[in-house]
């Protein structure tokens, strides 16, 4: 199980590469202008296929990555998810503090008025 990018239709927007939780989609390291999935790092999450704006990512069930590589890729995905979640929580907490601050300002302005 892995995914393949049909190079003819790919517009190199890089969305799949940025979204891949295991960083197994390469562009620069191909040293050509092409996006390629390194199958040993693929955990079959299908995110690349979902985000592709031109529908050129295909599922390839014929390949099985070695178990130790699959486990290493899953660990990278867990770390990626933890990092994304931490960023999201940080943003949410900053937004909540901002709303609180604005509410206090409005209340103070109302009292002063």
């Amino acid at each position: 199980m892995t995914y393949k990018i049909e190079l003819d239709g790919c517009i190199n927007c890089g969305w799949c590469r940025r979204a891949c939780p295991t960083q197994t989609i390469h562009f620069f390291l191909t040293h050509r202008r092409m996006h390629v999935v390194e199958p040993d790092g693929c955990i079959d999450c299908a995110i690349c296929q979902q985000v592709c704006p031109v529908n050129v990512v295909w599922h390839d069930p014929s390949y099985e990555p070695p178990p130790e590589k699959l486990e290493a890729a899953r660990e990278r995905a867990r770390a990626f998810a933890r990092k994304q979640r931490a960023v999201k929580l940080q943003l949410r907490s900053r937004a909540e503090r901002t709303l609180q601050r604005l509410a206090e300002h409005h209340a103070a302005a109302g009292t002063a008025g």
Partner: protein, 265 residues
């Protein structure tokens, strides 16, 4: 041809102007920052990611929505400026005439995006210029800095297409979809549809860029390497600005250095 060259010189030397005039966020006075802080809780909150979070947290607050749309609108005006300059300036380069027409089409696309932003702002009771500009036009003043950063000529159509169309606009796809989805989640269907429309155009712009980069590099691996290097440097700069790390880019430059060292040995 001579006339085109004169015009491109004139365009290169002309400043980016807009009515109302640009008011870059980087150059706000302390008083203007205070005004911004009163509306957004903190002047530092005038930034895309946190503005999206604020809109989600309090969809009834129109100031958050106005600020979010204004921050994106600046890039649309910069797009009009930048792509229209290319229509003129690239006539002096050896490029297919279809590429010039594609840049004219992109200019008009950016005009429509700006019109959508104006309409959306008006629906919230706002106007362009009320919030500061995250970008201030696409004039040539940044040329020398960009040249140093990219290690290549940003005016070269190959480099410009790879960095602006493919790297920058490709990267913006995520942002446009996020704002459209935000509009859907909070029940703001105008926001949802405006940014879905912009998103579709950005996909086309990225495809146009990629198509012409491939055409300009056809059969010339050295040109392809130049485009790739400029793309990596541009991505690296953007990632640094957003605090992200890209192991692949670091590895790419390490391999490039190794290759260069081997070639010199």
């Amino acid at each position: 041809m001579v006339q085109a060259s004169r015009l491109s010189e004139q365009v290169a030397n002309s400043a980016s102007l807009r009515e109302p005039p640009y008011r870059p966020a980087m150059t706000l006075t302390p008083q203007e920052r205070e005004e911004l802080a009163k509306k957004l809780g903190d002047a530092a909150n005038y930034e895309g990611q946190i503005l999206r979070e604020l809109v989600e947290a309090d969809p009834a607050n129109v100031e958050f929505k106005k600020a979010l749309v204004s921050s994106i609108a600046s890039a649309e005006f910069a797009g009009i400026d930048a792509f229209s300059r290319k229509v003129v300036q690239w006539q002096d380069w050896d490029v297919p005439p279809e590429l010039i027409l594609a840049m004219a089409r992109q200019t008009w696309d950016e005009v429509r995006h700006a019109q959508l932003a104006i309409g959306l702002l008006e629906s919230y009771g706002g106007t362009i210029g009320e919030y500061p500009d995250t970008l201030a036009g696409g004039g040539g003043q940044r040329g020398p800095m960009m040249k140093e950063m990219l290690g290549d000529d940003p005016a070269d159509p190959l480099i410009s297409l790879e960095t602006t169309n493919v790297s920058l606009e490709g990267g913006a796809l995520t942002m446009f979809q996020n704002v459209s989805k935000l509009g859907r989640r909070i029940g703001d269907h105008l926001m949802e549809h405006c940014y879905d429309y912009n998103w579709a155009d950005e996909v086309t712009h990225t495809a146009i860029g990629d198509y012409f980069v491939k055409a300009l590099c056809d059969g010339d691996p050295e040109k392809e390497q130049r485009a790739l290097r400029a793309h990596a440097r541009y991505d690296e700069m953007r990632n640094r600005l957003s605090g992200e790390q890209q192991d692949e880019i670091r590895e790419f430059f390490a391999e490039e250095t190794e290759r260069a060292t081997a070639a010199l040995a």
